[in-house]
């Protein structure tokens, strides 16, 4: 009863828009400390681009591009990046997430190192948020069975 219609018009325009939306998401993540935004917002836009791809094509197409295994790995990897940078500061002798101390191992002055540390944290948050959004959407639209979608 449920027809899965691939509409030419919607598909064509979404296909062109998906790379631009992903590009904008990475821009928001990278410029987190000059403009509003940062890891969470950029991750949301990145996850939304995957949802747009799912709307334009179907769920199998997206699963072929981003397998379930890889997606779950990315969820853990983002959190790992966040925790690893924090723990590195702890090992070097400062507080948790006090990036200034990282200048002991990176060849740059403390101010730049601080910006770099913030960027690493933002990237970790962004990866986790986008991967979690994708997996929530997959679970909701397949009723947790991951076989055949209804959206």
């Amino acid at each position: 009863m449920i027809r899965l219609i691939e509409d030419l018009h919607i598909q064509f325009v979404c296909r062109i828009m998906v790379p631009l939306i992903q590009f904008f998401a990475l821009y928001v993540i990278a410029h987190g400390h000059y403009s509003p935004g940062g890891g969470f917002q950029g991750g949301c836009i990145l996850g939304a681009s995957f949802i747009l791809m799912m709307i334009a094509y179907d769920i199998e197409y997206v699963k072929k591009r981003f397998p379930e295994k890889f997606n779950t790995f990315m969820v853990a990897f983002g959190v790992f990046l966040y925790a690893a940078i924090g723990a590195l500061c702890l090992i070097l002798g400062a507080e948790y997430l006090n990036y200034g101390i990282l200048h002991k191992i990176l060849p740059a002055d403390p101010v730049k190192v601080r910006a770099l540390g913030t960027l690493g944290i933002e990237i970790g948050v962004g990866i986790t948020v986008s991967a979690v959004m994708l997996s929530i959407f997959l679970n909701l639209s397949t009723f947790g069975k991951h076989e055949k979608s209804e959206v």
């Binding site: 904008f24 403009s35 935004g37 836009i45 949802i51 709307i55 959206v151």
Partner: protein, 102 residues
């Protein structure tokens, strides 16, 4: 010139409130989706104008672009959802089929 932009923002705000009538009391779900899409476009414009007023356009343009993207995706997703679940409107084919099954 600033006063003129404030005037524009207020007028668009009144138009948004008029659209909200359709979004709340719309007879069918489709009317509501249309109204929400229209409100989204108007909000994109309002955000840019607020940026002009506070003289921080480069910041508000990013917010406005992100809002436009998310509004577009939301409209597409809602229309696709209500296309496949046809149970929204009483008297349509889907409802008749379901009643026939019973």
């Amino acid at each position: 010139m600033e006063n003129f932009f404030i005037f524009t923002i207020i007028v668009i705000g009144i138009l948004v409130i008029l659209c909200l009538y359709r979004a709340i009391f719309g007879p069918t779900v489709m009317d509501r989706i249309v109204a929400v899409g229209v409100i989204g476009t108007k909000t994109t414009v309002i955000l840019v104008l607020i940026g002009i007023y506070y003289k921080r356009v480069e910041m508000f343009v990013d917010i406005s672009l992100a809002y436009a993207l998310l509004n577009f995706i939301a409209t597409l997703a809602a229309s696709k959802f209500f296309r496949t679940r046809k149970s929204i409107l009483p008297g349509t084919k889907f409802m008749k089929d379901r009643e026939a099954e019973k």
